[in-house]
Amino acid sequence: MSAKAGLAHARTSLVASVRAELESNFKIAVRAGELSSNLLPCEAERSAVPALLGMLAGDLGGRLALVTASDDREITRAFSVYWIVAFDGAGIFVLVRAKVGEHDPTFPSVARALPAAHAFEREIGEMFGLAPLGHPDPGPLLIGDAWPAGVYPMRASIDPAVQRLPLEDPGEGALSLGALSFRLDGDRVRDLALRHGRDHRGIEKRLEALERSSAGRLVERTSGDTAIGHALAWATWVESVSNGTPSPRARAIRSIALEIERAAVHASAIARQLDALGATIPARRAERAAGLAREALDVMSGSRFGFGFVVPGGVRHDLDAEVVDHVLALLDGALEGLEACERLCSATPSVDERLESLAPVGRDVVRLMGVVGPIARASGVDIDARRDHPHAAFDVESPAIATGRGCDARARRELRYAEARASLGFVRRSVVALPAGPTIVAVSIPTPYRAALACVEGARGEILHFGVTSATGRVLRYAIRDPSYLAWRAALLACDGLGVDALAPALASFDLSCAGTDR
């Protein structure tokens, strides 16, 4: 059985068992006919949600991927809270929606049973004013002291088109320069915490006010160094709410751009990790590889970060023969840099000795906290959206997916090296066999009140964009989940208790994005 047929079979049987469970135990009917997309939607009473999620994420083996809310009071006179559970083997997401009335703005927390929900629920609390009942630590996450009290920025009463909130002076000493805080116990780092929100701009709210062309430009600036990933997620979302289909050629070019970006991000992550160890000579080689991969993106797209390259309907520029030659020459240099870095590392045992068993993240922690991407794969948890939830042209061809076994900083460095190599090899194979077709096709106006979920394997892991269109086909609610969002808690937990000298290399081994987390 081919991979594609296997996925379709797994999907059918999973949908059948989810449907059976929901109907027999929860008396919830699942609408048929919605299975053309990757979303299986169902409505539940909010009181039934903990048991329902326990079933989905426990017995059925799902992974809680996103919890978010939406202020739908103008349409349904209630807020909606959404829980999205991923089923990686079947390429499907179950979307549970519960209504929360205006007069009792609360919902049951599942963070004790499913720690992956921890940050999401805090964010819903501060952004929508919906309190997660029973949450172990329900403080604000992203908005800090300079926010006016009692103002919930994501509510519909706040106009996304005009900024009217006053700026409150937090006063002296309310905020330190560093976002990271810890206490020193001898030479041990204790109570390691990160103050999120330093980069919180409010992209999701702003999207409700924007035209599609500006919105796409804004979304790709969620996290600059994974701009291709976020732009691809936006484009995929727009295409699924408006039934647009890019040509095979455009999809193949998207895969190539995404893999070049992955190589660049991994190479600079390796460089930072080695720099933090003081291994500057191999670090410079990796840095060189990252710079050349960024130059390759520049040649392809006109921006070192690929801004504006992936757009709904396709890609902005074609890959013609001249560009291909230039890109391949640059990527050969990148591969050379990475290999030189790896040779230097293996010739210097002290590098790996210091990374060995540093900041381990066990498989159970990965599963509980919902960690995705290279960190999960380095710990031996085989999650990769390129295979599990195919996008771009990864259903046709995909780079080899590596997993590690060590769980530690060394495993993460080795995994990034393996992935970057695989990505560069994939680009080399793909550019010579590009299918024919236009680079861009027109995309129609989105269907009103349509929900869609886009899932893209960005360099740091699975990027999720969940959105609902408004009556006019604009954005009613758009939620962005960067892979770093879930990994921060696991990373801080793994680094807590380390020696102070080991903190920098340990944190660098996770390579997490603040901009993507804060949005």
């Binding site: 500006s214 520049d298 921006s303 230039h326």
Partner: protein, 306 residues
């Protein structure tokens, strides 16, 4: 051309004496920043409609019977949509890297045109041959004193720092791209250290604060604290569209910038993100070791009464 050739002028001690304009990106696809031929512009607002970051406006001024076109390069993300949209060919994209400017108004292109609605009623004299004039009104009063003080500060910084410059980076509310490009000024190609530029970990040791990002509500106090702890002369360089004029994030709820709302800024470097070479140019410009090249223009239709 290899990267080393391309960035050659920035790699050696001869920088910044040599022209930086030939160090533009190797990519023929990079749009660059727009340059406006204001006397060719037909005021159709085609570029205004296409601009994703609202860098341009056309406004009607009924009192003075004119249409005012403004383009703020500080907000421009360099996407090139305006050049595609312009039917008159009044917008050309320029891919230079030496784009730092000392005054924010140098990033502004301003055109004043006869309002066609008013022309129809015959209140304006017969058209004359149009001519390009560059109007840069000199700063007056307080503004002049402030400019003088900043010049003095720059001169003092230059004489104190000589050919070194210690830079403290504040990043708040950016997507990370500018911060990475600033980091890349120290990489194996741009090698800012050869120009004496090094990034330091505390504002106490810094001569200059480099800001990237919009400054979020949480970032303002961090920037102020860093600025206050520095000893004079202290310089501030705003890198990227977000730091100059909020860029695409103008209007988002979390932002409290731009930077010059909170601390005086010595050099603005537009772009989204600016190349590492542009960041280097901005830093050198702040201490007078490079020259300003970019300057927005002002044009008035000669038919308009002053």
């Amino acid at each position: 051309m290899s990267l080393r050739d391309r960035l050659g002028p920035l790699l050696t001690h001869t920088a910044p004496a040599r022209d930086l304009s030939d160090t533009a990106s190797p990519s023929a696809r990079r749009p660059g920043l727009p340059r406006f031929d204001l006397d060719v512009c037909a005021n159709c607002a085609g570029c205004v409609a296409e601009c994703p970051s609202w860098a341009m406006t056309v406004e009607r001024d009924p009192a003075r019977a004119l249409l005012r076109f403004e383009a703020h390069l500080g907000r421009c993300i360099g996407c090139g949509e305006c050049a595609i949209a312009c039917e008159k060919g009044a917008v050309t994209m320029v891919t230079r890297t030496d784009v730092g400017v000392r005054e924010k108004r140098d990033l502004v292109w301003l055109g004043e045109y006869v309002d066609p609605l008013v022309t129809a009623t015959g209140r304006v004299e017969a058209p004359q041959e149009s001519a390009r004039r560059i109007l840069q009104p000199p700063p007056e009063g307080d503004a002049r004193a402030q400019a003088d003080a900043r010049l003095l500060q720059r001169e003092r910084a230059r004489s104190l720092c000589g050919r070194t410059l210690s830079v403290f980076v504040v990043s708040s509310g950016d997507c990370g791209a500018c911060a990475l490009e600033v980091g890349a000024t120290q990489d194996v190609w741009h090698d800012g250290a050869r120009l004496g530029i090094r990034i330091v970990g505390t504002p106490v040791h810094a001569d200059l604060i480099l800001v990237t990002g919009t400054l979020t509500r949480a970032g303002v106090s961090a920037l102020r604290a860093a600025y206050e702890i520095m000893s004079e002369p202290r310089l501030v360089v705003a890198i990227g569209a977000c730091a100059c004029d909020l860029g695409l994030f103008a209007g988002t709820l979390g932002v409290a910038g731009p930077v010059d709302r909170h601390v005086p800024v010595d050099v603005y470097v537009p772009g989204c993100p600016p190349e590492p070479a542009s960041a280097l140019h901005g830093l050198l410009l702040a201490v007078g070791r490079a020259d300003q090249v970019l300057r927005g223009e002002t044009w008035r239709d000669p038919r308009l009464r002053v």
